[in-house]
Amino acid sequence: MNEIVISARNLTKHYRVGGGTLAGQGKVVRAVDGVTLDIRERETFALVGESGCGKTTLGRIMLRLQEPSGGQISYRGQDITALDDAGMRALRKKLQIVFQDPYASLNPRMRIEDILAEPLRTHGYGSAEVIRDRCAELLDMVGLRHTYLRNYPHQFSGGQRQRIGIARALANKPDFVVCDESVSALDVSIQAQVLNLLSDLQDELKLTYFFITHDLSVVRQFADRVGVMFLGRLVEVGRTEDIFAGPLHPYTMLLISAVPRADPRQRTRERPLMTGEIPSPMNLPPGCRFHTRCPFAKDICRTHDPDLQDMGQGRAVACHFPLNS
């Protein structure tokens, strides 16, 4: 089995909201609430879940773009949680991120060559000439002509901008890349082009992807392993084929069945629908945090919070009564 690149142990991120000095103790949002996870070299690990489940926060604290409230992150065996700024800066070359919104993540006043050169200069990649060559090489790599180096972001389409965002992330030859909803804003035909590009780059450059998305159809096609997140917790982890073939957690099952299928002969008007509203992460229910929406909840689910338990063959689930077992 490949070496572990990133390892998270019991990561948490709690935000204090409201309160202030007069009102005394504010409330706490448990955005990430105890996540343990290993990501192996050259795999694509997809993190799925609905808005507000904490997937973006988890991606950011794994790179220490935000500081975790608790827990530990290691990169290739080295604990990076306590690393000082200088140590972390040196490591940033290896840990990169591609953002969701290709319109908001590129500075509209910078030319493409400056956007790409910035991380290279920051990390002392080489002389001005070496950097210029590298920028041209990066554009080549993501399938854009290097005559574009003098252009500004507004002159590009959404798909092309996302290619530029990818080129920037790859500038310093990282080995772990977080893709946070990186294809979600793109039209389906362009989405396929960018996913193919990410796939080729992974093979060429031996990249490891942490792929954050709400889109299960992309996950199915693109990921080796999947983690399903609900209200700050991982509720299920496993190989993509296994998860889609037989989800163990009721939430995973409902999530998969909610995706409309592009086949009118398979209309699923009888399929189970999730009822009710997602509880607030400020005010979690006792017991299993999914029990208020779970069609199979029993008494123990209302009182005892299930741990993520190993089910063998790389699968884990946090449920008192896993499905299909």
Partner: protein
């Protein structure tokens, strides 16, 4: 052209142009389609294909004077909208034809209570008093499945979740029992489980109330799940029009084929990791290529595609495509739908 019986809406040769510094840009060209009574008809395409512009043109919401809408006919259940006055259209909008927008947060006024907004069409079109409006809004909240409807009447939009806001928007759209509801990406901003609930709600409303719906989406999964007929749009035109089963089983326009191929398939695992994609990108409407608009991205392009705009061809009953691959002299459509 008379409105064939059974159609709530018949659109013929709708064109919308915008005036720009460098001449006019035609954003919709020769749009013709029908919506049958109680049917759900899809408009599908990528960004910039003209789906939303079609809805805005039908609703008379294209900004003037930059935008100019013209049509041979837009017949809404016997009323000709192509030649109607702005006042006449105001009578119809919200009463006979209503629209649900993509972003429920930006389409609700944040400083007014939800019931007042949802009930506003009743005040405008039926002149009802506050008491009567409040009662009717409560009924609508029950119909669209808003939990604790009574308590929600006096809520402000920010106090509702995205799914509840979209239910409230649908309640507003349906409150005057319109003949036609235009839903423009109604679930795009919602999570997948909430999306499933809203789509189910729209199907149930169609079944129970008989509302005809135009469903605008970029998601072929939603089309397959919801629609009876489908119009595929590309660069301001309808390029294929078919019954939903024909479209998915026998896609005829290369663009439709490309779109269907680029959806990640449920049957394939990632062993087939390379996804088919359509090369290139959507053309700039101000600088359309010669001949067929899809030609630069088309893998089946022939010599004629370079020089002449393709004619609309009838492939079989109610299945048409705007593509030279299928053009036979005897089958070139005589100006009927598409």
């Amino acid at each position: 052209m008379a409105n064939p019986s059974g159609n709530v809406l018949s659109v013929r040769e709708l064109r919308t142009e915008f005036r720009g510094g460098r001449g006019n840009v035609r954003v919709l060209d020769d749009i013709s389609f029908d919506v049958g009574r109680g049917r759900i008809v899809g408009l599908v395409g990528e960004s910039g294909s003209g789906k939303s512009m079609t809805a805005l043109s039908l609703m008379g919401l294209v900004p003037k004077p930059q935008g100019q809408v013209s049509a041979k006919s837009i017949n809404l259940d016997g009323i000709e909208l192509a030649s109607i006055s702005p006042d006449g259209l105001r009578q119809i909008r919200g009463r006979d034809m209503a629209m649900v927008f993509q972003e429920p947060m930006t389409s609700l006024n944040p400083v007014r209570k939800v019931w007042e907004q949802v009930g506003e069409p009743l005040r405008i079109h039926q002149g009802l008093g506050r008491r009567a409006i409040r009662d009717r809004v409560l009924e609508m909240f029950e119909l669209v499945g808003i939990p604790e409807p009574k308590a929600r009447l006096d809520a402000y939009p920010h106090q509702l979740s995205g799914g509840l806001r979209q239910r409230a928007m649908i309640a507003m759209g349906l409150i005057c029992e319109p003949k036609l509801l235009i839903a423009d990406e109604p679930t795009t901003a919602l999570d997948v489980t909430t999306q499933a609930q809203i789509l189910r709600l729209m199907q149930e409303l169609r079944d129970r109330v008989g509302t005809s719906i135009i469903m605008i989406t970029h998601d072929l999964g939603i089309i397959a799940e919801m629609c009876d007929e489908v119009n595929v749009m590309y660069a301001g035109q309808i390029v294929e029009q078919a019954n939903v089963f024909d479209l998915f089983e026998n896609p005829s326009h290369p663009y439709t084929r490309g779109l269907l191929a680029s959806i990640p398939k449920s049957t394939e695992s990632r062993i087939a990791r390379r996804m088919p994609s359509i090369p290139g990108m959507v053309p700039n409407l101000a600088r359309l290529p010669s001949g067929c608009r899809f030609r630069p991205r088309c893998t089946d392009a022939m010599a004629i595609c370079q020089t002449r705009e393709p004619a609309v061809t009838d492939l079989e009953k109610d299945h048409r495509a705007r593509c030279w691959l299928h053009a036979r002299q005897d089958a070139i459509s005589q100006g009927e739908p598409l």
